[in-house]
Symmetry: C2
Subunit: 254 residues, 2 copies
């Protein structure tokens, strides 16, 4: 194949152990990369699923320790949900967007609008546990990136991903909730199309497309909690996941 | 690298000519693949951007031929849009979801909810032209797939993609609007997680993740209107893009 053909590859990082609170996730990922016979290269993008980040950061809560408030109890009855889970959702939420048909759609303190304020109960050894989103996913990404820089002397970008639903379309897709070392949006308004017309409304959420691409290899169980994207020419810089959030005044669905 | 490492690659198909009405898009893509020194392999997924499909199928309309209705004229004044474009949007729409702040969000006759009923004006040689969505994007995918099967004797899956916005998150992402040869969603409810818990709400929109992955290589100009995804183990079958649409009764944002 010609060297000129644009090609991107997504490599699943298998072989990570079950992650526990306090684990050095960056070092464990570096180990997994090495044991696959790979090394990080400048320009690589590492995508790590939120669940292992939350585990390493101690954001897994036992529902046995949660006492529901009166609002959590009444909402849970209406929603047919576990009241302790609803209590956690209310605690994690900055704003409830919808509470209907068994669904709590909430805006998290980070500004993400998602089901259950991002709390989920899959892939946890304790059947009574729930994983909350990391407190600062950009910080989580930055910490992993820092470990790779200091232990491997390689500049990579790191994304933290989670699977979110969306209105109108069925099914979840993997999106970006934390970023370090990469500008998560690309603005084609400055580029123009092939015929000199300025492209309108063509800000592309490249970090979400990267997360979605990673999701294809991660699957939904935890056997592949991280992937390496190689060959994507991204804009370096101090991006933040909040750059992927639509300003409230431009949003028709609040 | 070990053969056991899951790896997916996305290859940009450069070298396609400017597409015109009546072009045999399948044959032109086969030619482009060959001129890159590649051949289709069983299990490949070909993703083709809507714009070239619309061009080949004659779905490009000159605004000079469009006479706005009274509703299009009054809406256009309110939205600060070209009344002829608004007229086309109203014609393409089955239902208007929102008309506010310069945005017409409409449900198309296919059932897609998107800005401008999917009409856009970028990457068209005629500055007064607008491209409508294909009438039957699943059929468009099937036709291209059929050409590859008959000319190359290889079974591939074909997706048609377009870039859509979404509430709450800024920027567009590439999504799937037409499919042939692949089941576009994957239901993990039947799988269970690594600890035996049934995964709730874990239907993954794999065709949208594939389209997003393709979008990374396509970019937003038309120099790469198609990509090949290699190494993704998909479920074969007669999928339809409507499988990616949330049933109205489950949607909180109509």
């Amino acid at each position: 194949m010609s060297d000129k053909v644009p090609e991107l590859s997504i490599i699943g990082l298998t072989g990570l152990p079950e992650i526990r609170q306090g684990d050095d996730l960056g070092a464990l990922i570096i180990e997994a990369v090495g044991s696959l016979g790979l090394t990080f290269r400048p320009g690589d993008i590492l995508i790590v699923t939120q669940k292992v980040v939350s585990k390493a950061e101690g954001r897994v809560i036992s529902l046995r320790d949660v006492t529901p408030s009166p609002l959590a109890n009444s909402s849970a009855a209406f929603l047919h949900k576990d009241a302790r889970l609803v209590e956690l959702i209310l605690r994690e939420a900055k704003r409830i967007v919808r509470m209907d048909r068994g669904i709590v759609l909430a805006e998290t303190r980070h500004g993400f609008t998602c089901a259950n304020a991002g709390i989920d109960r899959s892939n946890l050894p304790d059947q009574d546990a729930a994983a909350l989103l990391p407190l600062d996913p950009d910080g989580s990404a930055k910490a992993i990136r820092g470990r790779i820089l200091s232990l491997c002397q390689v500049e990579v970008a790191v994304l933290i991903s989670d699977t979110f639903g969306r209105p109108w379309r069925d099914g979840l897709t993997n999106v970006c909730i934390g970023v370090s070392g990469l500008i998560p949006i690309r603005d084609y308004n400055e580029v123009g199309d092939d015929f000199g017309r300025r492209l309108q409304a063509t800000i592309i959420a490249v970090a979400d497309e990267l997360a979605a691409a990673g999701g294809l290899v991660m699957g939904k169980t935890e056997r592949i909690p991280a992937v390496l994207v190689r060959g994507y020419p991204y804009s370096k810089g101090e991006g933040r996941a909040s750059m992927l959030l639509r300003p409230a005044e431009q949003d028709l669905f609040r």
